[in-house]
Symmetry: C2
Amino acid sequence: MVFAIAGATGAVGREMLRELEESDLPVAGLRLLASERSAGSKLRFRSTEVEVEPLRPEAFAGVQVALFSAGAERSLLFAPCAVEHGAVVIDNSSAFRMDPRVPLVVPEVNPAECERHQGIIANPNCSTIQLVLPVKVLVDAVGVERLVVSTYQSASGAGQSGIEELLLETRRFLDGESPRARIFAHPLPFEVVPQIGEFSSSGFSQEEIKMIQETRKILGLPDLQVAATCVRVPVIRGHSESVTVDLEREIAVEEVRRRFASMPGLVVQDEPARNNYPLARVAQGRRETFVGRIRKDLDRARTLHFWVVSDNLLKGAATNAVQIAQQLACRRLVRSLATDPR
Amino acid sequence: MVFAIAGATGAVGREMLRELEESDLPVAGLRLLASERSAGSKLRFRSTEVEVEPLRPEAFAGVQVALFSAGAERSLLFAPCAVEHGAVVIDNSSAFRMDPRVPLVVPEVNPAECERHQGIIANPNCSTIQLVLPVKVLVDAVGVERLVVSTYQSASGAGQSGIEELLLETRRFLDGESPRARIFAHPLPFEVVPQIGEFSSSGFSQEEIKMIQETRKILGLPDLQVAATCVRVPVIRGHSESVTVDLEREIAVEEVRRRFASMPGLVVQDEPARNNYPLARVAQGRRETFVGRIRKDLDRARTLHFWVVSDNLLKGAATNAVQIAQQLACRRLVRSLATDPR
């Protein structure tokens, strides 16, 4: 299979390259695409050096699977070109996620959705992917009425420049200077900022609306009640979430732990007596999503609370995208090179 | 009125001294009490230098109001001595808060509770004080069924040594070393830690149980449904909270804003279009509690979400304690120096 990565030099693009490298996918060819500025640099893939080419429509000739992480604008512009060339696009941007013709896939949750693709499959938002893993388990076990989520999202959600701003401005703050903000809405060092994206007239931010809408679409539950408060925190990498779930039927916490532990991609880390629960620093570099602090509400028998952490650049982006590529491969949903586009 | 501050050299004790200095209370005398280690040092109060004395039972002779912020153990040990000497104790520790004989007071919410004191009045937990200000408004306006809170609590909640650990370990991390934890359960630099205090068998932490129980007691609503997830974040000073409230009756967001703005001590900072909402850095050094991101749930007409920030060392501790002292003064609840203890 011939792959392309659009946005190969970004924080997620680099992880896509590494995930592809470490996957068992039969990579017969690989094109690394990025802005003109990054073109000409070289990135290692297995034993070869691959030169980064400019992201242009003709770059997709002969490509079967194109992983996109170059921002929504470039996805809107170039994903249709890739599809025209016969590639299946797995797009990490928000450009196509809520398009009813486009599957929005977390492979552990709704893999069969891949089957109905028309050239583009959307990779959900990072904070949504890690949320739907445990929630899917509860939906299947006892039904879910309502979700209330507050997030603790790291600087890397804003890409490499977000990480750099956090580190640089933290240093400046410790040296007695006033921290600045270019990437974030307000300076992030030693601050939590309850804004990710612009606000809609409803008062919810873009990130919150993504979480609400995407969760419903992935779970196939258009009437699920979901509320989110999305907050940027001074963490480098890894998103954490405080989740409250109102269930349709009661379930014992031990049974929840057992079912969470059986979910592929989900790891239960829940030993409060040993101060052991998911932490962003521990989740960093891991493909799994970690869940802990699982407890029953003190007033409501059908309400659970838990804490979910995942590496937003891996399961929240690159890992999930490559897992979708694996679905395409094993479901034979990729155009073979000899035939015409679907 | 003759005052004492027990724990005068701690992060909260120093703010108590400053709040007393800036108040209109008639301070006729002041004793600053601390551990043997700190005794002998001097702190400025108005135009005089006051020497810090060791915290001992006899130090309370002649004291009318004793502000305690020296930890629960020292409160349990020394507050009864102060009461025996005729002082009214305003205790910032958790030692007496849930004692049914002890009023737990936020002056804007339940000032009349001071009247029934038997020598000790408890100052609530920092994260609870800032929560009950807006919630009280909603209780009075339309009734509240249920609260779901996720907190973003700063290092200063663990005192001066918490602040020092965060700053020192952040520097070490930026210098390429592994951050360490002595004060916090896990290293706090660039991490969020979903644990404040030990865990009970229910899976809730001490801090979460405080928030649940104290909120009910202050509001006088023993059956109010409250759930909390309390999280330590790498912020120096100022606690932030994501709050979801299920109301008994519907209310327009504009009406909520108007009523919040009329609540003494509460400031509405809510202009999402201008990226203006409460932030810990802005709240630092301010006595008020700030509320913003006020919005109606997208699915539920009787559910609101908002974001509350306050300086945990001021309204969350020292300011509230001195405001209780003002209640004692204006309600004439302090023993005059000539009479016997109540």
